[in-house]
């Protein structure tokens, strides 16, 4: 979960990157809906979509290893639930179908988000009339996610370097104290952010 894992290549120069965020988002959603909700086992459709996605990926000049890595990170839950399908009659077919569909949808979304800066996606959401409070929340979440994660990391390191703890109970307690402190610091940060936002003319719409 490195920050550069997400939008490391979001600002490359390629035909796929050059597309506007709104239409790209719509196209990706349409593709995902088509693949995920098409009833039965449309193997030909899935093959065509796979070819299309591969072509787009090549066109986008993303390193294939980067895309593959992101696919693999998201795979475990799909595998877990799909494996349950193996236990019922005709299970292998359902298993393969589930796996193919979820992998293709994942690939489409990864291609979208890896070639589009997140702020552009937010702008597209705003224009699509998603309530402003929600878009603001998403923007702040994205902006401060890694700040908070790093802050949590620093607090844990500071704690570990000052105390020895062998017991599991102690470990839980440390975890909880760090998380609690993280929330307390978040509220302080939120107050400062509100002051900064207000100073720049922000108001709730």
């Amino acid at each position: 979960m490195q920050p550069d894992l997400i939008d490391r290549y979001a600002r490359l120069d390629s035909p796929v990157h050059a597309l506007a965020a709104g239409p790209k988002l719509c196209a990706a959603l349409a593709l995902v809906l088509l693949v995920a909700l098409w009833p039965g086992a449309p193997w030909r459709l899935l093959g065509a979509v796979a070819a299309l996605l591969a072509a787009l990926a090549a066109l986008s000049r993303m390193p294939p290893r980067f895309l593959l890595r992101r696919l693999l990170i998201a795979a475990p839950f799909a595998l877990g639930v799909a494996a349950l399908a193996l236990l019922q009659p005709d299970g292998l077919r359902i298993f393969l179908l589930l796996l193919a569909k979820s992998t293709l949808c994942l690939a489409a979304m990864i291609l979208l988000t890896a070639t589009t800066p997140f702020t552009d996606l937010l702008e597209a959401l705003r224009r699509a009339r998603v309530p402003p409070v929600f878009v603001t929340t998403l923007a702040l979440l994205y902006r401060y996610l890694f700040v908070l994660r790093d802050e949590a990391g620093r607090m844990r390191r500071a704690r570990w370097s000052r105390s020895f703890s062998a017991t599991r109970a102690h470990r839980w307690r440390v975890l909880a104290t760090v998380a609690g402190q993280l929330f307390i610091r978040s509220t302080g940060r939120a107050e400062r952010i509100y002051a900064a936002m207000s100073a720049r003319g922000w108001e709730v719409k």
């Binding site: 997400i6 995902v32 809906l33 693949v35 995920a36 909700l37 009833p39 992101r70 990170i73 998201a74 839950f77 639930v81 349950l84 399908a85 236990l87 019922q88 179908l97 589930l98 193919a100 979820s102 293709l104 949808c105 994942l106 979304m109 990864i110 988000t113 997140f118 309530p131 409070v133 929600f134 603001t136 929340t137 998403l138 702040l140 979440l141 994205y142 401060y144 996610l145 908070l148 949590a152 599991r168 839980w172 307690r173 975890l175 909880a176 104290t177 998380a179 609690g180 402190q181 993280l182 929330f183 307390i184 978040s186 509220t187 940060r189 939120a190 952010i193 509100y194 108001e203 709730v204």
Partner: protein, 304 residues
Amino acid sequence: MHIPDGFLDAKTALATGVLAVAGLGLALRRVRQSFPPQRIPLLGLAAAFIFAAQLLNFPVAGGTSGHLLGGALAAVLLGPAAAVVAMSAVLVLQCLLFSDGGVTALGANLFNMAVVAPVVAWAVFRPLERIAGRGGAVALAAWLSTVIAALVCAGELAWSGRVAWHLVLPAMGGVHALIGLGEALITTLILGAIAAARPELLEATAPAHRRDLIGLGLLVALGLVVLVAPFACPWPDGLERVAARLGFEQHTAQLLKAPLADYAVPGLPWEKLGTVISGVIGTLAVFVAAWAVVRMIGKKAHNV
């Protein structure tokens, strides 16, 4: 518990999508009405906090590890409406940026983890807090919210006809009954740490808006009826009014005994639709009754 794409069929995706949009819409309206502007940035920061807290893995028995869901934590820290908004932001970001949870399953994931989990947690926590104290109330709220969210998730997977109910229920229910214990422990500890350092944050962030819960609670109850009721549900628990609803659902499931085990069922058979409708009406009735009971208990506890 993040459902990927391809695991839900069209009717389930649509139904859960409607439920999720209704829940988020209700919550956003409540937030705009009752949240002071200076606390709007806290929504984003609290969402980031939940996201970061979800990265903390904790050991579950047997060498596996689980991570925090955060529904109960968000509900107690922010109140139900704001918790729904913050949890929704977390899930939307996970879906769009981290490909954690599918796009067509976004409605289902939002409903399970951003609506059901915090609302159930709040509905359990609020009345219990006065009776059992904060620690016990939080622990039970966290455990129940995790398990019920997992059950709804199982219902969605089964309703889509991809995995049979009798397989997916023990898998999801069993694992999350365990994960829920971790969730309960860590949520209680985190709130304890916050209460020890800055108790006023807990007082300030949990305003008691009864109205927050009415719309959202009804929505969750309807979701449970539509998604879980059609399956015979051997529910082992008899706690709280949430369970009262589920008790009712066991009853409807008896009426049904029905043919959904056959995956080939194309749409919604009329017989089943009838059961769902009767379930919806019944839920409304039980909800009103439960509401009255909880109010009475709440008042009594308050008077003492």
